[in-house]
């Protein structure tokens, strides 16, 4: 680990040196980084994730780029300082550090996040390796799992039993690399909404079916994705995903979890769960279970069109194309909670058992 961080500092200095030398020659310096977008990833089922291709963009120093250019360099400086002092900063903290940079400060956090992602991609490392951690909370975990963490003071092993949180849950930390697991669960069920997670947790659904349930609360954070990946890799557990029946649930949540995203193209390799499978709610389920629906909004239609046209994952899987087209035709979306129309526990007692048994109703 120590060696790796040295490398990062060296890499940062190398880039800085390049720029310095260019300037000395009275030439416009440039920063080169891979393009982080769906247009620069490819997908094949064997590798199982969005693999970055070699399209790059270079940010040449000009009047319109000089501000970001200066900010990128200053952010690299901050990163170097953090690594050397063996410290970390959250994304939010880094944003506040920039407030000391006078005119080069960031106005809003998204600006500093983007610059951070750029540096990450430029160095082809993970955010943690350059000293930054996300501020956002990870997912919530409950069920047949014991997480083995390390006590920061005593450096002793710390066993956390995820069955013993009562009506609460274990919160995934921002860094999960050091965690180990003990489990005899049969599968992991990843759930989009905290509400659905609450219902399943309250009735100890995990006990009856011998599983681990994880609430993603929207698009899963990097830590949550990595957490599930480790469970899948190290404990050979299948991961089933249960989201709302809408384009956002399918292609922002499920697709990102399974194969990664365009924006994080450079790190998809580590932050994906290739064996994840989608169990519902599918457009077919809307019909099969006669679920109450909401009309699709303009943005949903746009997303469907865009995904079918541009998303390499969707282009690879005919089943997904068909599902999306069906949804567009039905012009409706459905929420996880819609099952309550039948009865409050319908989802637990009827829907999930039925779906889990019948792989044919899943989507890849």
């Amino acid at each position: 680990m120590a060696k790796k961080t040295d490398n990062v500092v060296e890499k940062i200095q190398e880039i800085a040196k390049d720029i310095y030398n260019k300037i000395k020659l009275i030439k416009q310096p440039e920063l080169v980084m891979p393009i982080r977008a769906l247009s620069n990833v490819e997908y094949n089922e064997k590798e199982g994730y969005f693999k970055i291709m070699d399209k790059i963009k270079s940010r040449t120093l000009t009047a319109s780029t000089i501000k970001t250019f200066a900010q990128t360099l200053r952010m690299m400086g901050l990163s170097k300082e953090l690594i050397e002092k063996n410290d970390i900063a959250t994304k939010r903290e880094a944003y506040y550090v920039s407030k000391n940079w006078g005119d080069a400060r960031f106005k809003e956090q998204p600006e500093s996040d983007t610059v951070m992602d750029d540096i990450e991609a430029m160095m082809r490392v993970n955010r943690e390796q350059i000293g930054f951690i996300p501020g956002e909370k990870g997912g919530a975990v409950a069920g047949k799992l014991t997480v083995i963490d390390v006590d920061q003071d005593t450096k002793k092993e710390l066993k956390i039993d995820c069955t013993k949180f009562g009506s609460g849950a274990y919160a995934i930390p921002s860094s999960v690399e050091h965690l180990k697991f003990e489990t005899n669960a049969k599968f992991v069920l990843a759930i989009e909404t905290a509400g659905m997670f609450e219902r399943l947790n309250k009735h100890k659904y995990w006990k009856k079916t011998n599983c681990i349930i994880i609430a993603m609360s929207g698009v899963p954070t990097r830590a949550t994705r990595r957490f599930m990946r480790k469970l899948a890799d190290e404990n050979k557990l299948p991961v089933y995903v249960f989201t709302d029946g809408d384009p956002y649930g399918y292609f922002s949540i499920y697709r990102t979890l399974k194969v990664g995203s365009g924006n994080a193209a450079h790190i998809n390799k580590f932050f994906c769960v290739p064996n994840a499978r989608f169990i519902g709610v599918t457009p077919q389920d809307i019909e099969d279970y006669k679920l109450p629906t909401h009309p699709l909004k303009e943005v949903d239609f746009k997303k469907i069109k865009d995904v079918i046209k541009n998303d390499p994952f969707c282009k690879h899987h005919k089943e997904w194309q068909k599902a999306l087209q069906k949804m567009a035709k039905m012009k409706v979306r459905v929420e996880q909670q819609a099952f309550s129309a039948h009865s409050l526990n319908f989802v637990m007692e009827t829907y999930l058992p039925k779906k889990l048994k019948d792989q044919k109703t899943w989507l890849p």
Partner: protein, 578 residues
């Protein structure tokens, strides 16, 4: 109620003299309030003086003096170096309304109707009861005649109070008018000061000496020694005559045939055109004009419309010229950008006319107010009734946004801009006898719009250039803002020393300078600007401070002195914009 017979009523029916009519309706001539009356009086006298000098081909030198006699009473003295007026004509010219030389001809003089100066006399007589004093000398070694005149309003005839000969040695020839009248002297946009200044601007061949009631003297020396081209009298153009006039002309002509009638009574009609007109009218060219019936006249009238006839000659009108117009504007306004245009002659109702426009943009002009409009007709400033004028109307219906001025729909645009429009024509169509606004003929409105659009396009390219330079300047300062940060970051990352850090900043400047090229600058660079002139006619408030500065400035020397002072303070010639 006792019914009255027609005969009873007839006893009361009698002719009204024109003088009586205007005595009651003096507002029609512009004498509706004391302030305006003073201006109109000066205007009529100066117009006449200028017309007389130009007609006699004499470089005009006019002396205007206003003396305050009491609170609301003034004496106006206007003296010119014109050809003078022979003794016999003096009473009629000055004391008979509708008597003059200009009504029956088509030429671009200032006066048109023969009302103005006699109306001024009438006004003076009405408000003070005093006669006017006219002195005129027609040549060297000739005596000067001095006549005291009144108007008999019942008969519209001159009433000579006294007539003497006097010595007037300082002038070879010229005319001097002295009229006492009720009035009010105020500065500002519609003041005598402003009027005379604008007159001087559009008449660069005029030397004008003006002493206002505060005993401040202004000298506007002539800027050019050449008189405007002599105005020629022209015959009417066929397109301009109405049916009634055509019938009257056919009646009065001495021509033997229709063809001859057409070629001799009209401009731009030669044998060929005359034949075509006859053909288009289905009339024989040999028809005797006397035999042409009303129906035939109408045929002829329609035939004229169908025939293509070249526009009337334009040497009968003389525009000020783009260059002179712009020069005048430069004296008055210290701006960043000037442009002007003189349109080709055009025709309304058969009268040739030329529209000229000029613009001054930026500089010290306020950006949040409506633009200043300066209107001129045959070199006469129009200060009243801006709203009723074809010039204002055309200006409001031109869309200025694309030319870089703000404008809500169909209203006067807003921006740091002065717009000058001048119409010159053999017959300027005013909306009333007081000659304050141009009538809205389609052809005139269209030409004014074209002239404004021409100027507008030039303005737009300047405004765009200015904006580009401003943007570029912004980018530059943006670059300069972030260069130290790039250097600082590299300093941090590589542990450079201060010297290298400074070097990086310099190198970065060079790199970015190299890629962006030299920066242009727009400056106010206007050596013609005359702040002293620009001040004339401004409101009292603004003027007060200046007055204290130099109590008595007469003559050119002190004026120049002051110019320098102002220049030192504000440097109007070299103001940086960026």
């Amino acid at each position: 109620m006792v019914q009255k017979t027609a005969e009873d009523l007839a006893k009361k029916q009698k002719q009204i003299s024109i003088a009586e009519f205007f005595e009651k309706n003096r507002h029609l001539l512009g004498f509706d309030n004391p302030r305006k009356a003073l201006l109109i009086a000066v205007k009529e006298a100066v117009d006449n003086a200028l017309d007389a000098c130009e007609e006699a081909r004499i470089l005009p030198e006019i002396n205007v003096e206003l003396i305050q006699l009491s609170d609301d009473r003034f004496r106006m003295i206007v003296e010119d170096n014109g050809p003078g007026i022979i003794e016999k004509q003096i009473p009629k010219i000055f004391a008979k309304l509708l008597y003059g030389s200009k009504f029956h001809k088509l030429s671009s003089t200032r006066g048109q109707q023969g009302i103005g100066i006699s109306a001024t006399l009438l006004y003076g007589q009405l408000t003070t009861g005093k006669p006017a004093l006219i002195t005129s000398k027609i040549g060297k070694n000739q005596p000067a005649h001095q006549i005291k005149l009144k108007i008999n309003t019942q008969t519209n005839n001159p009433d000579v109070v006294s007539s003497t000969t006097v010595e007037w040695d300082e002038k070879e020839h010229g005319t001097r008018i002295e009229i006492d009248m009720e009035g009010a002297y105020l500065k500002g946009k519609q003041s005598v000061d402003e009027y005379l200044k604008q007159t001087a601007i559009v008449n660069p061949h005029l030397t004008l000496i003006y002493t206002n009631p505060n005993a401040e003297q202004f000298i506007f020396p002539r800027a050019t020694e050449s008189l405007p081209a002599e105005v020629k009298e022209i015959k009417p153009h066929p397109y301009g005559v109405e049916l009634g006039r055509l019938i009257k002309m056919l009646d009065l002509t001495s021509a033997k045939s229709l063809q001859q009638f057409l070629t001799t009574e009209f401009v731009r009609v030669g044998g060929g055109t005359a034949k075509t007109i006859c053909e288009n009218s289905a009339l024989l060219p040999k028809t005797r004009p006397g035999r042409v019936s009303r129906d035939m006249a109408e045929q002829l009238f329609n035939g004229i419309k169908k025939t293509k006839i070249i526009s009337p000659p334009t040497d009968c009108i003389s525009p000020i010229g783009e260059e002179e117009l712009e020069k005048g504007l430069r004296k008055e306004i210290n701006a960043e950008f000037y442009c002007s245009t003189t349109r080709n002659p055009s025709v309304y109702r058969g009268n040739p006319f030329i529209i000229e426009a000029a613009m001054a943009f930026g500089g010290e002009q306020p950006a949040d107010k409506t633009v200043r409009i300066m209107r001129f007709a045959n070199r006469v400033p129009l200060l009243y009734q801006q709203g009723a004028c074809a010039i204002t109307n055309s200006l409001m219906h031109t869309s200025w946004r694309s030319y870089g001025l703000n404008q809500s729909k169909n209203s006067i645009p807003v921006g740091p801009c002065t717009i000058v429009v001048h119409m010159t024509s053999v017959w300027v169509p005013f909306t009333s006898e007081s000659k304050e606004a141009l009538a809205q003929y389609n052809e005139i409105v269209r030409e004014i719009k074209f002239a404004l659009q021409e100027c507008g396009r030039k303005l737009a390219s300047f405004v765009n250039k200015k904006r580009r330079i401003k943007d570029e300047g912004k980018k530059r300062s943006y670059i300069e803002k972030y260069i130290p940060h790039v250097a600082e970051a590299l300093h941090e990352l590589l542990g450079l020393d201060e010297i290298s850090k400074k070097k990086i900043e310099d190198d970065l400047c060079e790199i970015l300078e190299h890629t962006r090229g030299e920066l242009e600058e727009i400056k106010v660079d206007n050596p013609d600007y005359d702040p002293e002139l620009a001040k004339i006619g401004k409101e009292e408030k603004e003027k007060k401070e200046e007055k204290e500065e130099s109590e008595s400035e007469t003559g050119k020397e002190s004026k120049e002195d002051k110019n320098d002072k102002v220049k030192d303070k504000k440097k109007p010639g070299q103001q940086k914009l960026m």
